[in-house]
């Protein structure tokens, strides 16, 4: 399974997760919706859509959790007929990321949860020292997004 990353420190943890958990798709993104790494996608437009939707779901679920429970919901799992999604935050020294994974009968929710925990531990261990958070201005967003997609799909 091909893994493409914007920042190299993410590659090994993601590669291990995909191999261990046997998932079809995996995506790591900033909370703003900017992609950081992906596995299993073949078209940049799919990555762009998945990032936008994952960031929106994370934001909505977080706000709903705050309203209902006083704190954001942590993990979201949605089971379809053939495929299932697992959406969870990944907190590292570099900041908070969103992790999206799609799996089918080759894997299971239990396995994905198990290896997600290990994935986050590896991310934390691999993360370089924290930098000041980049400011993604609305006018820069599309340029940043295209730059990351180009890096992932070899058009940089």
């Amino acid at each position: 399974m091909t893994v493409a990353v914007v920042e190299n420190w993410v590659e090994e943890p993601l590669r291990r997760f995909v191999a261990d958990a046997r998932v079809r798709l995996a995506l790591l993104l900033h909370t703003s919706g900017q992609v950081l790494a992906q596995s299993g996608f073949t078209r940049s437009v799919d990555v762009m859509s998945a990032c936008a939707l994952a960031a929106a779901i994370h934001a909505s679920a977080g706000e709903l959790g705050k309203q209902l429970d006083g704190k954001p919901f942590h993990v979201l799992h949605h089971a379809g007929k053939e495929r299932q999604i697992f959406l969870a935050p990944a907190r590292t020294p570099r900041g908070l990321y969103i992790f999206l994974s799609v799996f089918d009968k080759e894997s299971s929710l239990g396995l994905v949860q198990l290896y997600y925990g290990e994935f986050v531990d590896r991310l934390v261990a691999a993360a370089p020292p924290a930098e000041p958070p980049p400011v993604v201005l609305p006018e820069n967003f599309e340029g940043e997004l295209n730059r990351n997609l180009a890096a992932l799909f070899g058009r940089a």
Partner: protein, 117 residues
Amino acid sequence: MSDSPFAEVLAALTRQRGVLGSMVVSEADGIIVDSNLQIGVRGSVVAALAASLYRKARLSAQAAGLGTSSFVQLEAEQGRVCAVGRGDLLLVTVAEARANVGLIRVEMLRATQVLDA
């Protein structure tokens, strides 16, 4: 202690000599439905991996034309993991190496009637 329909059978299994814990697990999800575990047994980890192992063993048996698998036993250096399934549920037992696996097997096969109910 849980008062689920599985509590009694899980307690009886875990009382067996050398048994460290037993769980009812969803085969498709690898998630614990109910459990009776001694302290130190990583239930969710065992459940996820045992369900995956059982599912693959079941598919292997079917692919080989042997029908459905009835009882799966993983023998390791310091103990055993046993699993038996009915429908979408699995009964998983973690035991020390000194445990009487024959007795555990009989108890587990008997206990699967509860999974049917």
